[in-house]
Symmetry: D3
Subunit: 242 residues, 6 copies
């Protein structure tokens, strides 16, 4: 395969990843995550008031909201607050983030609390949802750790790690962690969320140009597994800094 | 494997499928599709006015809207028109239906026209989105055929067939075409959209209980392929009735 | 009078009416009613939670919601859930349905429960609101009967029957039960709701082309009374099937 | 019949009616109408820009909007602008006002212009919609007259007069022009709109307590005819003041 | 200075002011205030139910809502209830009115009650917000007095008087109480709210054409102080009429 | 005066100010401004499509939108996109920012273009609106400079500089540039916008605790003038970095 990626990266190479904790001071967890030029601010907020439908069940909830600053994108995007509602893409992404993070939380151990993960894209260059999940995990751990210091929880509500990456088929070649230049021209695009034990939490694959084969799917899943293993390592390293 | 499904079906067995064309008289295509007790009315409407962002490009558009009658469900669901907006689940589903059907349409051949696929759930028992995609395909073909009779299109805009089915892991056993009783208690749920050439158009898998393994994913994809092959046969049979 | 109706019906002749009970399985009452080509699905849902303003008064409430599938009409109508609100026509109709059905319910006997009548038009050919009222009555009776089997009500909350029909003046001739071809060209259009004792519950008459005379009004009311007597008979026959 | 009305009026007696023209200075027509303690400000605005669906047809449009100041009522009503939408009652009323006034306008003669009748209730004591129609007619005539002075219309777009009144059955006695004390306790309530030739434009009757008989309906229509004849006289007298 | 104002008024002269109490009968306080051709209906409504965030604190709340009838203005303004939300200007004004009136209320003395000041502009000719504040004060006093007659309050919740006026620089000359003809062409526009002790409650100054100097600001504040002293005298005179 | 500020600053001392240009890469101007712990991202976007009401007038427009990330604040604030509308405070602030920046733009020189200034608060600690105005000015200059390089403008649309600061009376002492700890407990709060020639563009003063005297107002305006002179110097220094 002699196809070369616009960024010059190897097909199985992540962009430069950075995870900056304590980025803002009010939130219980606050992480600025960068996947190359994609930058997402992830904050975790813990509140005691539960939604009505969950009260009195002795377990907590984890939810997410996603937003994009109007000029995170190449041309200005209308502010959803001005439009009067969140669009379908936003809803889809924040539902995905919420489901993904709930997969690493023991809701009984959390107790009757809600953790809200706000993921706001400061600058977009492809892969904002996978960066958001990867960063939100670190913010969540920080928030839960501060909770455990404050309150007397019986056990740690965090059960394992969660990270996400996009994979795709670019000009016939399976590639890892697409940036915008690739994303806009690839045939197939798949977002994969996995835990640190190699278990799959979410797979969302879409054929953009033409339908894809099982063999392509297998190659993409292999790449995703490799990438997520690296991301979990980077999350761990960031969290060890204390 | 000695697990038995609530419905008594074999693990690779579809529910009883029916596809009733010309169900209502105004729409260019109108299909009542049933996957067991799940019943969805799919209509295809062809209109000449294009959305602004597509005008003058010489190609058409295919979009979908999804709705659920308030009492399609076991307990009454609030009407979205009363609530004032479509929920996240609705948006996610209608975006999926639209993307899936666009995969079998040559938009240049369609010309500057919009086809809207309205999928309204009359009765829900699991798998409404996969039934919707499968039925909407038939409505789309009927609508395009009526268009071809009326107008002088250069070539048929329909390129292949599209169908969808859900698969999951129920009590450890991979199963095809989940009904509500299974869906509510399964560990993993995956919706697969494929074309009649065995190409994958969409895969959306979610771990409900615990993360799933690559081997489970493979087994589910095998089941999906088998089911979709049968569904494409049923679509073809329905369309041959004329 | 030698005017002939587009349908060939006599001036005092209803369209073919059908009332199909148990049309869907989840609702306490579920009726598909057809007035010719007009088809409306009417479901009755009984819920225990009362609106705030009625709590603790020891009596129930009956309310209605009306919707139209986007392609129930000759050209596609925008979905109200997408538009973000119900239109004035929808509100007017659902308020009429609610008031009409409350006229046959003893709200003390019902107890602190809400019955919601959802009337969704599957196919429209004129007279959807009168078909909805006529069908919703049967769904309501089915729902209340199932409630009486389950709970120990002191007395039957249903007091009499309610049905509705449209009448109009078409090319100078008073006619019963207008279909769309007549409705679109008539001079005057009136919807009448009556009970089985011949009492008038609602009259809504509108001059479309020119103002109407008392004599025309009298002729229309006579036709309505005849039509409603027949409809009440058809409701009774449907309910006797058990 | 020895029933006495709360106001001491005879059963066929209108409240004190006043029609004050030129109440505010900006609108082309501006009328403060009072039916007893019910006071409604009716303004008529003429604009050249047509709604999209009517452009280029060579005819005009007449439409109405209705509002209620928050403290027009005995207890404060939430402002619809704050709530974010107009309620069903408001929509129903403004649709009625618009239809009623269109019945006295020759839309071809009006030319491509929109007349908007804004009817805002300053103080409510029953019968706000009938007062609004009666007052809006006078505002409409003033606005059209000012238009005719300014522009060279071929013929007067106003064809006849329109007025409205409520009638009801109060403690078994048919009565004219209900005030709130009667309206809140009457068995039947009917709004009637007629033209100056005695033709009926709208009839909207609702049984509040129990269904009503044809004989009651006839008595109410007689009262309405008498009341509207008086109202048309009062409109004419007001307009002659110049 | 030889500049003359469009109205012929002296630079420090208010328009003709009138304050008409008991303008409508339902509200606890109801005042029609006129600053020249600007006419605003101000009603004060007292309710016992507190907003959630204030319950149980033993103190009351004063809030305001502002509206403009569609044809209060020279050309018709769209109704905010139709548009679906209040505009930024409306929100800004009603927040200002609320803050201003809270400055003269002892919320502990008021007890757990909400006073809502509805200010609806019947006719606009500049200075609607300052007229609204000046009139709302009188409505508030009337409402609180009626409350004190009904309930046993320990002390009068009204602490001093509040009035407001606009000032500006018109063709280089500082002027008091701008009407629309001045407002539309002035260089600077400032709204000042003061109490009867000469204390400043709000100052909102905006350079329309070019930035203004401290000396201009001083001249405007002097005019405002003179005007507000007169307005407080007129409020007192109106309230003494009983 | 021996009152000491929570931060230990002198009464006429600004917080540490930083202005970081080119903070994100897509916008024509992108500035992260910090007033102590208050951090606001200001982007300037230039677009060619004008709002309808300004088309064909040969002049441009400058507008602003303001947002707050949910966890910019000590406790989580609901996202306005989720709520479905911008609140009154947001609207008030973005209107102020827009007016302030328009004061330094020659709209004829700009030509038919819209500049949108998006000011998003990343972290809040008092004074977000004055930081936003001060930062947005720098983003605006960067955007206009890039426009002048690209297009052949006849003259520079930027006419002077604009900056803003808050002043207040804290425990009786007039102070400059309030942080949250002061803002929450001060008696009076005033936002002042000035240009680099010492002209006043906006003054918005509010008595929080009790009304303020002219002498206090004078002292606050003196402080504001001093602070804005320093801010204009910092803007100039930042822009000279190139």
């Amino acid at each position: 395969m002699t196809v070369s990626r616009p960024s010059g990266r190897a097909s199985d190479q992540l962009r430069t990843i950075s995870i900056e904790r304590h980025y803002t001071r009010h939130a219980e967890g606050s992480v600025l995550v960068a996947f190359g030029d994609t930058r997402v601010l992830c904050t975790a907020s813990i509140e005691d008031r539960m939604p009505l439908w969950l009260r009195g069940k002795g377990e907590g909830w984890v939810t997410a909201e996603y937003g994009m600053l109007p000029r995170a994108t190449a041309t200005r995007t209308q502010r959803e607050a001005t439009r009067g509602s969140q669009g379908g893409r936003t809803m889809e992404i924040q539902r995905l983030i919420g489901r993904s993070l709930r997969a690493c939380v023991d809701r009984q151990a959390l107790g009757e609390r809600v953790v809200t993960l706000d993921c706001d894209v400061i600058q977009a260059d492809g892969g904002t949802r996978t960066a958001a999940i990867t960063g939100a995990y670190v913010a969540l751990v920080d928030a839960v750790n501060s909770l455990m210091k404050r309150e007397n929880l019986r056990r740690n509500p965090i059960i394992g790690a969660v990270a996400a990456v996009s994979v795709g088929v670019y000009q016939g070649m399976p590639v890892l962690d697409l940036d915008y230049a690739e994303d806009a021209h690839c045939d197939t695009d798949m977002n994969v969320v996995m835990n640190d034990g190699g278990g799959i939490i979410e797979v969302q694959g879409t054929a953009e140009g033409h339908a894809f084969r099982r063999s392509e799917m297998d190659a993409m899943l292999d790449l995703a597994e490799k990438g997520i293993t690296e991301l979990v390592g980077l999350q761990r390293a960031a969290l060890e800094l204390g």
